[in-house]
């Protein structure tokens, strides 16, 4: 069976399943109505049963009624006049796949791109969403591959089937949640499970077809390189956003988060961790029955059979946008109006403007637990860190959480103690806090972590601190503590 026939058969099966679901639901509702009618006609009607049947029938019918498709913009809408280069690339991908240009192009805050179709059969609007962090990690060639892949979904007619399946799935979910854990609910749950497995199998095949189409334009090697980058970046973006960006946004600033994401991925600690994850032989990823996309190794294997091609444009794809800063501001504004008005901040200023006030506050609150330590004689055993962390959190906090809290307090204490002595705290996305004074440099976290892990002796640290003249500086001065 060819791929096209397979897809056709599966798609037909999905449509039959959609129809069967509505037949099942409506049949059940009619059955319940009929039962209540029979009860009413009988000489001694059971009113409780009648209410049960009527409520059940109403519930099922209410669940299957199609809801109005309420479209919510996933992010700021891009205009051709503002980003002509990006639209030129979109046009190229559209013409390669013989598709019209989408009516709406949105920017999203995700390492992803998507296409969809809005409206009914008469007033169809094609929508494409492009991730700003996605553009931060891809070259123009790789991004072109992604765009062609997305247009491949229009080309293959995938977006025609999608809305039907989506609406049927939503109706099934509503029915299952209405019927809760009753026998009827289990029947629908079983049916929904089968439906989802079949439709997702189609979805995974459609991804292979779209990959193949994209590879014919940009070459299999470029496509494979792009997919690998997307896989890694997509898995850490959430962590990056929450740990690196939100604290700065909370402090009232809009940092250059797109550029910061590229720096984060290249930070030594992060890139070493990601390398270890990707090389872990125990973490071989396989496609699951409930995955919308095939697993990366399967996609790479499929691409390996296609012509390799060669890269032509290796500029970063962000160069297609006229103003990245403006786009970042619009993305933040799409979360809430307040966030769109935040003042810009460059990364070197983040430590002084954002973290130093946080560190001072932390030391004021919890610094008393570090009173007996000095910069040259800091806590340097696991047990000491656990005790400090538990004093901050609570005695029953688990060791890992306690150690994490202890490190945060230690870094804050180093910053508050060393800043008046002319040291400058600096940090880059994904990197640790580094203290510098002229040519002198201290990396308290990594240096003391090696001591805690037993890889280094504390005397090295003590000697360095003595050489810098800071060995006897108390970790926390009384004046820094909150009183009362």
């Amino acid at each position: 069976m060819t791929r096209r026939t397979w897809l056709g058969v599966r798609a037909l099966l999905a449509l039959v399943l959609v129809a069967c679901f509505y037949v099942l639901a409506l049949g059940l509702a009619v059955g319940l109505l009929w039962l209540s009618y029979v009860q009413l006609r009988s000489g001694r009607p059971a009113y409780g049963l009648i209410v049960f049947c009527l409520a059940g029938a109403t519930s099922v019918m209410w669940s299957v009624v199609p809801r109005r498709d309420r479209f919510e913009a996933p992010g700021p809408r891009l205009k051709e006049v503002d980003h002509p280069e990006l639209f030129a690339l979109l046009r190229e991908a559209a013409s390669w796949t013989s598709q019209p240009m989408p009516e709406d192009v949105y920017l999203i805050n995700d390492v992803n791109a998507f296409v969809m179709q809005r409206g009914g059969m008469r007033e169809r609007r094609r929508v494409i969403g492009l991730g700003l962090p996605l553009m931060a990690v891809l070259t123009v060639d790789e991004f072109k591959g992604v765009l062609t892949h997305e247009f491949g979904h229009f080309h293959g007619g995938d977006v025609m089937l999608g809305p039907w399946i989506h609406r049927a799935s939503e109706a099934m979910n509503r029915t299952i949640s209405q019927l809760a854990e009753s026998v009827l609910g289990f029947i629908f749950a079983w049916y929904a499970k089968m439906f989802v497995r079949i439709t997702l199998a189609i979805s995974r095949r459609q991804e292979f077809a779209a990959d193949e189409l994209a590879a014919t334009l940009v070459g299999a090697n470029v496509m494979a390189a792009g997919l690998k980058k997307i896989d890694v970046a997509g898995r850490v973006h959430q962590s990056f956003w929450c740990s690196e960006i939100i604290p700065i946004v909370q402090a009232g600033f809009c940092p250059p988060f797109t550029e910061a994401f590229s720096q984060y991925l290249e930070a030594p600690r992060i890139s070493a961790f990601l390398r270890a994850v990707s090389e872990d032989p125990n973490a071989v990823i396989k496609s699951g029955a409930y995955d919308t996309h095939p697993a990366l190794p399967d996609r790479l294997t499929a691409l390996a059979r296609l012509p390799a091609g060669s890269p032509r444009d290796s500029r970063p794809s962000l160069s297609l946008l006229r103003s990245v800063e403006g786009c970042e501001r619009e993305v933040l504004a799409s979360f809430s109006d307040d966030l769109g008005t935040l003042g810009p901040i460059d990364w070197p200023s983040v430590t002084q403007s954002v973290f130093l006030p946080i560190w001072r506050h932390r030391v004021q609150r919890h610094g008393s637990v570090l009173r007996r330590f000095a910069v040259g004689a800091p806590p340097a055993t696991r047990q000491q860190l656990v005790e400090i962390g538990q004093a901050i959190l609570s005695e029953d906090a688990d060791d890992d959480r306690a150690i994490s809290a202890a490190w945060s307090l230690l870094i804050a204490a180093f910053a508050v103690a060393l800043t008046p002595l002319g040291w400058l705290a600096e940090t880059q996305p994904g990197d640790e806090v580094v203290f510098r004074r002229g040519s002198q440099e201290l990396r308290p976290f990594s240096e003391l972590q090696s001591v805690v892990d037993g890889q280094k002796s504390l005397t090295d640290w003590q000697a360095r601190c003595a050489a810098f003249g800071i060995a006897d500086v108390p970790m926390v001065a009384d004046s820094e503590l909150a009183h009362g």
Binding site: G48, V51, A180, Q238, F335
Partner: protein, 170 residues
Amino acid sequence: MASCAACGTTILFGGARDGEARFCNAKCKAQGSLRLAVERVPDTLVSSRVWMIREGRCPECRGAGPVDLHCSYRVWSGLIVVMHSTRPHICCKRCGTRAQWRDAAFSFVLGWWSVWGLIWTPVQLYRNIRDILRSEDLSKNTPQLELLVRAQLADDLRTHRLIWPPSSPR
């Protein structure tokens, strides 16, 4: 001797593993793995995500927040069957109140039609009215929102294979 990380039963032989944790059977493994995944989500990620939800637009009306978790309670019954549920809504206070009024009305009409319904209907009505009248401290999120976000992040970790690289302390 090993004990099940979910229910504490002593495992003599066999069982199921998830990393270093051991479970007595597949059901315990599913429960325990989810619990472990929830516990593994770093606190900073949870608090950041909660902050974004609070500051973001209300998903229901697209108006200004603060957004939080609001629950509405409903019941319907007939003869021998009673169905009661607590329905979570992540939305602003206004939309939450609207959902509570809606479910109170639903329960008032359809709740009473069985013996258990006579007991459950006043309970669900009371819960809805209590939450409608409760004046909330809008400056703080509910602990339930935090729990929900933690569970969602743990689910993302499993389904989208997300990873949390070790973050340097700040």
